[in-house]
Symmetry: C2
DNA sequence: TAAACCAGTTTATAATATAAACCTAATATT
DNA sequence: AATATTAGGTTTATATTATAAACTGGTTTA
């Protein structure tokens, strides 16, 4: 009846990160932090988890002299996100 | 950009319980346990939380000699569920 | 009458999310 | 030129949550 929901995606902040990345080519740390209204510490941890799962790739570079962290969704991330959305539908059928 | 998700509903098991109850007049403990494929202990805890929040009502009776726990969704529960589904949509927009 | 079973509850533990504290370097202030 | 402030994070500690294990009270079966 109900599909198991990917626990990595069933988290408000990680889902927000994935939601941003699925509709953008890339997004940097500060942009994501602002859009998700999260703290840097929490975002840092959640980005690590998404990267460890292979759902996103993370690239560190410099914008001028300042560090910059850029995230992109991977093909596996796209697949996982789409599956999550589909699985979620098993819970949301209206009466 | 993203709506905060009601933490009480953003839980696989509690969402499953609410999903069952929104489309049924009532459902008993055993039925819910089977449909959600959960353990009795976990379900007991999650049902308490939903009841404490006023999202469901819980009635204890006997079916013959055996105890029976029947759950129903409350109007507040319906409202909360509908809001959750709507808020969730802010995360699920497809590219 | 003992063993197994049903319908749960309580409690302990594991997992997770979040915030607080910290780090390194750049820029602005006195 | 020192000192404070800001930027862009990371690490670590704590609070919350989910889950499983153990237990309770009663019932049915052998």
């Amino acid at each position: 009846m109900f599909k198991d929901l990917d626990p990595l995606l069933h988290s408000q902040l990680r889902l927000g990160v994935m939601s941003i990345l699925i509709s953008a080519v890339e997004a940097d740390f500060v942009f994501i932090r602002e859009k998700t209204n999260s703290t840097a510490g929490n975002l840092s941890v959640q980005i690590d988890k998404l990267r460890d799962a292979g759902y996103i790739s993370v690239e560190k570079s410099f914008k001028g002299k300042m560090p910059r962290t850029t995230c992109r969704i991977t093909p596996e991330g796209v697949t996982a996100f789409e599956k999550y959305v589909e699985d979620l539908n098993s819970y949301l059928q209206k009466k």
